[in-house]
């Protein structure tokens, strides 16, 4: 059973609901919103069902633009490609922007084991890195951290004033601190929000400008993304750049929407295209639509369970509705317990900008993996009673005795809630005959 942190639950719920509120206002200001979602879903379904040709087209274009393209089957190969690149370029200090793929493939610990100083430059990610922790949300990685905690952390790490936890003050301290790293980095890396097949460009969306700083100075730039990030052309890109930030943070667009195609004059540009289980998702008709996901975090902000539990309650590094599904695809034995963290309210499915059938997939995964023995017992018991009308009649007619058994089975119901009274079945019989 998932535990609630009562000290933070309401604050976290309200904060994330605020983000959903901002998203709602923007979604409702565009009359074409539902058409955009529909278009996004259909473009993604087209793209993921034409991956070989679109990826081939992307590679050809990217090469013609002067980029060097690498392919990684899995996390290990992804880490090795990047590690080798950095070592062959004698990189000592490496700045990276937020990339869920790098979290998925556990890049940072690997690079650190090679002796490469690896700096997260997104403010939230930097807070998390300094805390020695992991992101609790894919767009708002430090959403669970209170300003006082950041103040104390920065005092220790950056020498900020004791007790000063003003977000503006702390953000500007981090700006100053991280600028040193940007100016002295030997290489910079981004993920990719979109990879455009028709142009061979990688599109990166950020608000802070850290990706742009990190790629504008060093002589080596790396962009790495999963094969699901491919979109056919710029016309399609228009649909996604309109949906992404509106859903993710409630902004009409991110501050920076950067299109990288050629290397910067005097620099090298390497692109790493990664599978790491995505082709396996594609092969599973029940979960294929997970590849539609834009990693906007919208499903987390709307999920009543995620808002109350926070990201650390989940087993997979991506939490919330999409994380439950991705986790079960990646590592079912470890992540199946998370399948319980869903009341099947379907808010995620109703909100997802690319129409991933998130709740429906959780339902389907539950048919394959059981999150608890107790639930199994309850379900089997219920199935047995419902299996024959006489059994249901007998159970209901048992009245108090039946109720006792029910209370024992579902004891956890009684913590915080009263049990309902079981109705007299005479009324029902009367109603049935009373025509």
């Amino acid at each position: 059973m998932k535990k609630i942190d009562y000290a933070k639950v309401d604050w976290q719920d309200e904060t994330l609901w605020l983000v959903r509120g901002k998203r709602d206002r923007l979604a409702k200001s565009l009359p074409e919103w539902e058409k955009l979602r529909d278009a996004a879903s259909r473009i993604k379904l087209y793209s993921t069902s034409h991956l070989p040709e679109l990826l081939d087209q992307f590679e050809t274009k990217a090469r013609a633009n002067g980029a060097i393209v690498h392919w990684a089957k899995d996390a290990e190969e992804y880490r090795r490609i990047i590690g080798d690149l950095l070592q062959s370029h004698s990189v000592k200090r490496f700045v990276k922007s937020k990339s869920m793929l790098s979290e998925e493939c556990e890049l940072r610990p690997y690079l650190e084991s090679l002796g490469i100083e690896t700096i997260e430059t997104d403010l939230g990610e930097r807070i998390i890195q300094l805390m020695g922790s992991r992101p609790s949300h894919i767009v708002l990685p430090a959403i669970h951290v209170k300003r006082e905690e950041v103040g104390a952390l920065f005092e220790k790490e950056m020498g900020t004033e004791k007790g000063n936890c003003d977000p503006t003050y702390l953000t500007h301290a981090a700006r100053k601190n991280l600028r040193e790293y940007f100016l002295s980095a030997d290489a910079g890396m981004t993920g990719g929000n979109f990879a455009v097949a028709s142009t061979g460009e990688v599109v990166v969306c950020t608000n802070e400008g850290n990706a742009d700083m990190g790629t504008s100075l060093p002589p080596l730039q790396i962009a790495a993304f999963g094969i699901d990030k491919i979109v056919p052309d710029r016309e399609s890109l228009g649909v996604f750049t309109r949906l992404l930030a509106r859903t993710a943070t409630g902004q009409p667009i991110t501050t920076y929407t950067t299109h990288y195609s050629a290397p910067r004059p005097g620099a090298e540009f390497h692109i790493v295209i990664v599978d790491n289980g995505r082709s396996r998702i594609l092969a599973d008709p029940e979960h294929r639509k997970l590849l539609n996901c834009l990693r906007c975090g919208g499903c987390m902000n709307t999920c009543p369970v995620y808002r109350r539990l926070g990201g650390y309650a989940y087993s997979y590094f991506i939490p919330g509705p999409v994380g439950i599904n991705l986790g079960v695809m990646a590592d079912p034995e470890r992540c199946k317990a998370d399948l319980s963290a869903c009341s099947l309210c379907h808010s995620c499915s109703a909100l997802c900008p690319a129409k991933v059938d998130l709740a429906e997939q959780i339902y389907r995964s539950r048919q394959h993996y059981c999150s608890s023995a107790k639930k199994k017992l309850l379900s089997k018991g219920m199935g047995f009673v419902m299996g024959a009308p006489w059994r249901l009649e007998t159970t209901l007619a048992a009245g108090p005795a039946g109720m006792k058994a029910l209370k024992a089975l579902g004891a956890s119901w009684g913590k915080g809630r009263d049990f309902p009274d079981i109705a007299s079945q005479k009324t029902i019989k009367k109603l049935r005959n009373d025509k």
């Binding site: 904060t15 983000v19 565009l30 009359p31 074409e32 058409k35 955009l36 529909d38 278009a39 087209y46 069902s49 034409h50 991956l51 070989p52 990826l55 392919w71 990684a72 089957k73 403010l123 939230g124 807070i127 708002l140 430090a142 209170k146 300003r147 977000p167 953000t171 700006r175 142009t199 608000n207 802070e208 400008g209 742009d212 700083m213 504008s216 100075l217 094969i227 056919p232 710029r234 016309e235 890109l237 228009g238 649909v239 750049t241 309109r242 009409p252 667009i253 501050t255 920076y256 929407t257 950067t258 299109h259 990288y260 050629a262 004059p265 082709s279 396996r280 594609l282 092969a283 294929r288």
Partner: protein, 175 residues
């Protein structure tokens, strides 16, 4: 077998249901356009935390920039290609007269565009760009920002702390 071949083999073996490429003309034509795109653009720039100033064709951008940000010490003035009304973005390409990093490392960034260059939305923006590759392109809307500490909005995370847009009025043809 190369990794690319291995990935492609797995993708082909996955045999996903095949979907056709959607026709986007309907969503594009249904998309919100503005009676006064210029006014919407100005509102959107302000919404993103930036400032806007309209200037005449012959005005000096430096003076205009100074009047927008009298206190600023480190102003970078850059020429944008066009603006986007729905979100206040200015589209820029690789600068020819300075390193790219100036867009981000400068404390104050002032972008100059022609006021008739404003398109309604990102569909029109990408239609204008077409599929031609220029090596680098960026949409910037307002100053660098973050809300990573308790969702409190702070300007000047890593990039420009102040951003202004100068809208250059178009030169009326001689009578």
């Amino acid at each position: 077998m190369t990794s690319k071949e291995a990935i492609f083999e797995a993708l082909k073996a996955a045999r996903p249901e095949v979907f056709e490429k959607p026709d986007l003309s309907e969503v594009k034509s249904a998309s919100l356009r503005y009676e006064d795109p210029l006014a919407k653009f100005c509102e959107a720039v302000k919404g993103s935390g930036g400032k806007v100033l309209r200037i005449e064709a012959g005005d000096s951008p430096e003076e205009a920039a100074r009047s927008l940000f009298p206190e600023a010490e480190d102003i970078c003035i850059a020429k944008g290609e066009f603006g986007v009304a729905e979100n206040g973005c200015v589209y820029l390409e690789e600068p020819t007269d300075m390193p790219r990093v100036k867009y981000f490392i400068s404390d104050t960034l002032v972008l100059v565009i022609d006021e008739e260059s404003i398109v309604a939305n990102m569909h029109d923006a990408y239609d204008r760009l077409g599929e031609e590759v220029k090596g680098y392109g960026i949409f910037i809307s307002g100053p660098s920002k973050t809300a990573d500490i308790e969702q409190a909005l702070v300007f000047g995370a890593h990039g420009a702390r102040l951003v202004g847009v100068l809208l250059r009025r178009h030169i009326a043809p001689a009578p």
